[in-house]
């Protein structure tokens, strides 16, 4: 190298000048194609029914961290049309073969990303060429359609309730008027029978006094009290 440099320094400098940009460019093209220069990636496949939101270059994330990207999309015609997305993922990321892949939007206007989730109970590690099954597909468009459907349903329910309340407004008014009349009638009855109630209460009080006296007499001379009535009966019989 040193000999070459010393023999013709200009050629050496021009060679370096050409090689360095070419190397940078090649490295960049390799990175853009999804290759890693250290060979620290694995290619795994994701089985999907619909590729409307996935394209080459779609990011793959694990817990929000970028772990790779989709490098190819292949249609599979049998048994039914589906697609295999080739995902180039960093090798040092710990993934398991029964992990799930969720297609979701980063935010309301953001790009679609594939979120990988390791299962709670971890199985065998994910290897080169494995296919990830059990895709949960969350499409923003579908979600918005569902929300729209729900809002339409809520609006129609509110309309029905409004109609019912309008129709039964007169009935409720009648019912309230009747209730008011009934309260008035009860009030009148109570006012009218106020004197009778007082008389009844004073009678109750007299009766209780008499009963109190009887109980006192009974405590003092129970036999006399019992026999008093008999004596009176016999006296009445004698006089008769």
């Amino acid at each position: 190298m040193k000999r070459l440099r010393d023999r013709n320094p200009n050629e050496f400098r021009v060679g370096l000048f050409i090689l360095v940009p070419i190397t940078i460019l090649l490295m960049f093209i390799l990175l853009k194609l999804g290759y890693s220069l250290s060979g620290s990636t694995i290619d795994v496949y994701l089985k999907i029914d619909n590729i409307s939101s996935i394209k080459k270059g779609t990011s793959i994330k694990l817990k929000g961290y970028d772990v790779g990207k989709v490098v190819d999309l292949t249609p599979v015609y049998r048994p039914a049309l589906h697609f295999l997305a080739k995902m180039r993922i960093q090798k040092d990321i710990e993934l398991h073969e029964d992990c799930s892949a969720i297609i979701l939007n980063q935010n309301i206007i953001g790009d679609t990303v594939i979120e990988l989730r390791n299962p709670y109970r971890r199985g065998k590690p994910l290897l080169e060429g494995d296919v990830i099954e059990g895709l949960e597909y969350v499409n923003l468009e579908e979600l918005l359609k569902e929300v729209n459907k729900l809002l339409t349903s809520v609006t129609s329910t509110v309309d029905v309730l409004k109609q019912i309340s309008l129709e039964s407004r007169s009935n409720i008014r009648d019912m309230l008027a009747n209730l008011s009349n009934s309260v008035g009638a009860v009030n009148n009855i109570l006012q009218k029978s106020q004197g009778d109630i007082l008389t009844t209460l004073s009678t109750f009080r007299d009766t209780s006094k008499v009963l109190n006296e009887i109980s006192k007499e009974l405590k003092k001379n129970p036999m006399k009290f019992i026999l008093k009535g008999k004596k009176e009966e016999t006296q009445e019989g004698k006089t008769k």
Binding site: N10, F17, V20, L25, F28
Partner: protein, 262 residues
């Protein structure tokens, strides 16, 4: 007055037409010279290509890198002061690709090459012509079109394409370094954003621009370099060479951008 105005426009149009015709005949003479290319050994041009690449490419590296670093930093400073801070890290890569890689990189590189090498080529050839070196070469049967223009075109294409790549890389680095003063972005994330923002179309456009600039700059400068007939005309034609090349370069840049991005 009107007659004078009309005659003025007429004379200008005629002079422009004559200049265009003259330039076209110069281009045609270069193209016609290509048929003698098989008879010429590559070794004849080799030294010229090496020397021209050293001057246009290698020796311009320091100035190109310095300007690239400052340009990248300036773009990022403007972006960080004008754009909202929150979430800006996701757009820095796109911004650098759009401004630096697509437009500023090729154009500023071409401007540096024009100001350094374009003027040098025009001056060198003018002096060669004034000192009858070119006449001597023609007299001994050397095709001056091939010997003077072609090696400079090859060296210029190599140099400009290489300088554009280096300019872009250094500008990205400058942008990254400046951005670190305001928002923290890891080098991985920054690199990933750049790679995501870059497309093969950008690379194609940059190379097309580099190739076109690499052809037009030495061709126009050689054309004006061969024009002077006395030593007093040398600075006039050198100045013309630089200005016309600048103009043509900007027009070409716009045309390629329209072709690729509109």
């Amino acid at each position: 007055m009107i007659v004078k105005l009309i005659s003025f426009f007429g004379s200008r149009t005629c002079s422009y037409g004559a200049a265009i015709a003259d330039f076209s005949s110069f281009i045609m003479s270069i193209v016609n010279s290509f048929k003698y290319l098989k008879k010429v050994r590559f070794r004849t041009y080799y030294e010229v290509i090496i020397n021209q690449t050293i001057f246009t490419g290698v020796n311009a590296l320091i100035i190109v890198a310095s300007i690239a670093l400052l340009a990248g930093g300036t773009v990022i400073i403007q972006a960080l002061t004008s754009l909202p801070k929150f979430g800006v890290e996701g757009f820095l890569g796109n911004l650098l690709v759009i401004i630096i890689a697509r437009e500023l990189g090729p154009l500023l590189t071409a401007l540096i090459v024009i100001s350094r090498s374009g003027s040098a080529i025009a001056t060198e050839i003018s002096v060669q012509k004034w000192s009858k070196e070119i006449l001597s070469m023609e007299l001994i049967g050397i095709d001056t079109r091939l010997f003077i223009v072609l090696p400079r075109v090859i060296a210029s294409v190599i140099s400009i394409c290489g300088l554009i790549i280096i300019f872009d890389i250094v500008a990205f680095l400058g942008g990254y370094l400046i951005s670190q003063t305001v928002v923290y972005i890891s080098l991985d994330q920054f690199g990933q954003t750049l790679i995501n923002a870059f497309t093969f179309k950008d690379i194609g456009a940059a190379f097309l621009k580099g190739t076109l600039f690499g052809i037009t700059i030495p061709v126009i400068c050689c054309y004006y370099g061969l024009k002077p007939v006395s030593k007093f005309e040398i600075p006039i034609y050198v100045s013309k060479a630089v200005m016309r090349t600048l103009f043509v370069t900007i027009i070409l840049n716009i045309m390629v951008s329209i072709m690729f991005y509109v």
